[in-house]
Amino acid sequence: MTLDLFSYVILLPVAGFLVNGLLGLFNLAGWRSEARKPVVGWLASAAILVPFLILLQIFIGMAAQDKGFVTLYNWLTIETLQVNISYQVDSLSVLMGLMVTGIGFLIHVYSIGYMKHDPGFWRFFVYLNLFIFSMLNLIFADNLMLLFLGWEGVGLCSYLLIGFWYQHAFANDAAIKAFVMNRIGDFAFLIGMFLLFTSAGSLNFDAINQSVGALDPTTLFLAGLFLFIGATGKSAQIPLYTWLPDAMAGPTPVSALIHAATMVTAGVYMVARLSPLFSASPELMVVIAVIGGLTAFLAATIGLFQNDIKKVLAYSTVSQLGYMFLAAGVGAFPVAIFHVFTHAFFKACLFLGSGSVIHAMHEEQDIRNMGGLRKYLPQTYLTFFIATLALAGFPLTAGFFSKDEILFRTFASGNYLLWGLALFSALLTAVYMMRLTSLTFYGRERFDAGHKHPHESPALMTLPLWVLAAGALTVGFLGLPGVVSHSNWITEWLSPAVITAEVHATHTTEWILIGLGSVIALTGLFAGWKLYTTGLETVTRLKSGLSGLYNLVYNKYFVDELYDRLVVGPYTRLSESVLAKIENRFFYPVFGWTSSAVSGFADTLRYIQTGYTPVYLTLFIIGVIGLISLILFI
């Protein structure tokens, strides 16, 4: 394995960020003009493509157990705390890096088409490059500190991109919400990091993972728990998931890249990176599995009744992330990463497809006002449909393999309750996805076809769709189930970097589970198609029959309202009283006195500087004499 070129993987995206950023900021060389847009876009894309190719070359030349380090420099050393800008290249990080740069590149290309008419074009690509840079730092970091730098960096980019259209109040609100929610998680993450540093004495992954056996179980549990709370913020899990659906206020390519394929999987990645740590605490694993399973279920039910095309996909993302944590919680860390990998393809494809639809419908996002788009957008339709099948777990698609593996591992670990919940969520997933596809592409047009003329997006946008759709069909074969093939490539590939729990189950059980999973997917898909094309009256009747339940789910279980009541309201009131009682009555006067004392002092002092040289010279002598007497008499 040669890592000569590795540093460019990190440096090129930041170079793209700097070039576009500086030229755009000062509007040099006409960088914000219409004519420069292709240059900006392709420059930014190239800054991602080249790292992808370098990683590909490293990937081809490496064996699964290879592991290399690239240390750029030591940032600071304070006694035993060493912060190195140092990267770890192993099977896990290379796989994640390929995914981020590969899908990132496709989304960059797509954005050149999608953002063509936006005046903030250059700004968009600057943020995207910064995002990829941060994400790569997160993935390749060999210590928690650098990972945290990337972690914060992606959080910042997420904030900037959700609020990209800052002229709209809702975009700003969503951006702030995402940032605050993430900060809550980050705070816990920091506590976890401090706990690990004080107990394990290092922040390096290797050192942490090796010292797990020597740690006190309570400390281990707490450190892991706090890190996991950090992960629930970044990866939108209960209780910190409510920001992700709102994050859809950002441009659609952002939703595809950051809020579906890459950034939100950072929590799963972190858990997998520290898999020895997490699996050393059985209680912690239960917490992770339960949170994951519950989130998968909860988000799937909410997704069932959303009407905004992107919101459905957002809840679906939350739900799928739940599956990943479920896999991690039952000890199947490689499977979690496998699902991260397959999910990236079909979810990116779905989001980009929805972008293409929104584009064609002139910024319309409500699926109740769509329908029959199949004949207007044939390519978008076909790719969207493929990705829907993959997400629903249609046999032999990518999602089928990864999700079935998660269900199987959950079953094999003996958590039958969680398995049942996950299986039911899989049914819901198939239903809500087919509902989305049906309402968007099938049936009759529910918009004024005379006025609106939806048209297929340009090739720049459809080509990435096809690449991603092809991935959604094929990448599942990287992780064939144990009954079919003895070599599950992805598990074997990840085995040197990520640990996995033993599996005790017979082949018969596995076959039965696979069959059950397929039946569930097909049933769900059929139900979704039937209900939302020809059976719309049945749906209406069901809704009015179960109006209580429907309202509860439709309003997202009132979690946002609950948070408002429980946290935001009391917090605001607390802030107000702190302002009135403490800040205004105590701090303000104290700081006022301090500052007037200092400025009064300054006012006196400045008259020493009279401008008269004799005074200066006298003061010189007084100074010398003063110092001498200080030494001699004190």
Partner: protein, 504 residues
């Protein structure tokens, strides 16, 4: 010593002094060329100046491993002095380029030749200051720098303020030189030598009887001379007047290079003369003189007076003058720590201080030239009229405060770590320094506030621009200010390696 050996010794010494000699020869070359060059093509004299400085850089790069004393112990050539010589030459180069964009100086372009001659002389003086290992050499070098400074400050001969500040500067400087040479004579009287290392031997000799009172007075008088060079309180009074009156590039240059030279010399003086045993780290000071406390008091006085007085300044140049006094106070903390990490932190601080402070002065010059005023009131809303100039200014200001992400943070961080490593003894010193940084944030950000948050008096004011080469130079200052804040280990390691090479 026979004649052959003497000649060989002189030749070896001369060879080792190559960078200084290059600058000296360059000085004469510029002088002569200036005489014969037609007045219309005088600006080409600057090319010669850059050439000489470039050659000096190349010559310096070949001295990284040298450790020697030349001319009978007059001058030390070691990693430590080479580090500083780099700083002087680089700052002369940058200030030289800066001068080409200065309106004040270009109105006098006729005499630009003289300007560069004096500047070259000053560089030579500073290089000698960094290496001087003998009290007499120290004095001569410091005088060369001072004399050049007087000329440069009063360079605008038609400008009344420039002349006035020059005269004040000369009087103040001569006074401190007088006291310094008096101190030197006292030291010579009680130790019988002028060489720093021999002085150390005398002080260490238990048989020698040194009167501590005389020694204290003598050293304080020498310190007065050095303190005047670095503008440390209470020897700083010349600085605000001189900086305000001087052409801005000169003020910029004075605020970084001679200051660095003063610190280089001060440290070599104390480190060589007043240590019992020069072990690697954890030096043992000689008991006869508590100079650490003196420096600590001076450090606190300097940073407090600098920062507090800066609060009320309305003139940006004057504010920057007080700011550079305050920074001298911080840097003094590194001198008095008696540790390698303290010295390395001091060197690191001086190196980047050069970049960010030159940068701040440079923006001040560009903006001041364009609005014809250095008063803060006239700068209101300039940020939106001149974003290309004002945004880097904010970067420099942030770095001067020490905001994380800029090199100013790293420098203060290293300095404070070095202070705290010495144990709780110096805790109060770090605390005062931190409080001072807080005060400094107030006046630095006041400039940013006025640039960006205040409305311009004239709402229809034209945008302010600068020529592209001038902007490029601006980025030469701004980019390292950020990059060194993130990627500082090479510079620090270089400083650390240089510290280990100090010879007596």
């Amino acid at each position: 010593m026979n004649l052959d050996a003497l000649i060989t010794y002189t030749l070896t010494s001369t060879a080792l002094l190559q960078p200084e000699l290059l600058v000296a020869v360059g000085l004469m070359l510029i002088l002569v060329t200036d005489l014969f060059l037609k007045k219309t093509v005088q600006k080409w004299i600057s090319v010669l100046f850059f050439l000489v400085m470039g050659l000096a850089l190349i010559s310096l790069s070949r001295q990284s491993e040298v450790q020697a004393q030349v001319f009978s112990g007059m001058i030390s050539i070691d990693g430590y002095s080479v580090f500083f010589k780099y700083l002087f030459v680089v700052s002369a180069l940058l200030a030289g380029v800066m001068s080409l964009f200065s309106e004040e100086l270009n109105q006098n372009r006729r005499r630009l030749g003289e300007y560069f001659i004096v500047m070259t002389g000053m560089v030579l003086g500073m290089m000698l200051m960094a290496g001087a290992a003998n009290l007499l050499m120290m004095f001569v070098a410091i005088e060369l720098v001072s004399l050049s400074s007087y000329i440069l400050v009063s360079y605008l001969k038609d400008d009344k303020i420039s002349n006035e500040s020059g005269v004040k500067y000369i009087i103040y400087g001569s006074f401190s030189s007088g006291l310094m040479i008096y101190g030197i004579s006292l030291i010579y009287g009680i130790t019988g030598t002028l060489s720093l290392s021999e002085m150390n031997a005398v002080l260490q000799n238990p048989a020698a009887t040194i009167d501590p009172v005389t020694l204290t007075i003598a050293v304080l008088l020498v310190l007065g001379g050095l303190g005047y060079k670095v503008a440390a309180a209470p020897f700083h009074f010349w600085a605000p007047d001189a900086y305000q009156g001087a052409p801005t590039p000169v003020a910029a240059f004075l605020s970084v290079a001679p200051k660095a030279a003063g610190f280089a010399m001060m440290l070599r003086f104390f480190k060589t003369v007043f240590f019992g045993s020069a072990t690697q780290d954890g030096y043992v000071p000689l008991a006869s003189l508590d100079w650490v406390s003196i420096l600590a008091v001076i450090s606190v006085l300097t940073m407090t007076i600098g920062n507090v007085t800066a609060l009320w300044q309305q003139n940006v140049k004057r504010m920057l003058a007080y700011s550079s006094i305050a920074h001298a106070g911080y840097i003094l903390m590194g001198v008095l720590l008696l540790s390698d990490s303290g010295i390395a932190a001091m060197m690191f601080y001086l190196a980047y201080y050069l970049i960010m402070n030159l940068g701040a002065f440079y923006v001040t010059m560009l903006l001041g030239d364009r609005v014809q005023s250095y008063e803060l009131d006239d700068w209101r809303g300039l940020g939106f009229r001149a974003p290309v100039l004002a945004v880097p200014m904010v970067i420099f200001l942030a770095s001067l405060i020490g905001i994380p992400g800029t090199v100013g943070f790293t420098g203060k961080f290293l300095l404070f770590v070095a202070v705290l490593q010495q144990g709780s003894l110096y805790f109060w010193l770090a605390l005062i320094a931190v409080a001072n940084s807080v005060v400094s944030a107030f006046y630095y950000f006041k400039v940013a506030k006025i640039l960006f948050l205040k409305k311009s008096a004239d709402p229809h004011a034209e945008p302010v621009t600068a020529p592209v080469p001038a902007v490029v130079l601006l980025f030469v200052f701004a980019v390292p200010t950020i990059v060194l804040g993130i990627w500082w280990s090479p510079l620090y390691n270089w400083a650390m390696a240089s510290v280990r090479m100090i010879t007596g």
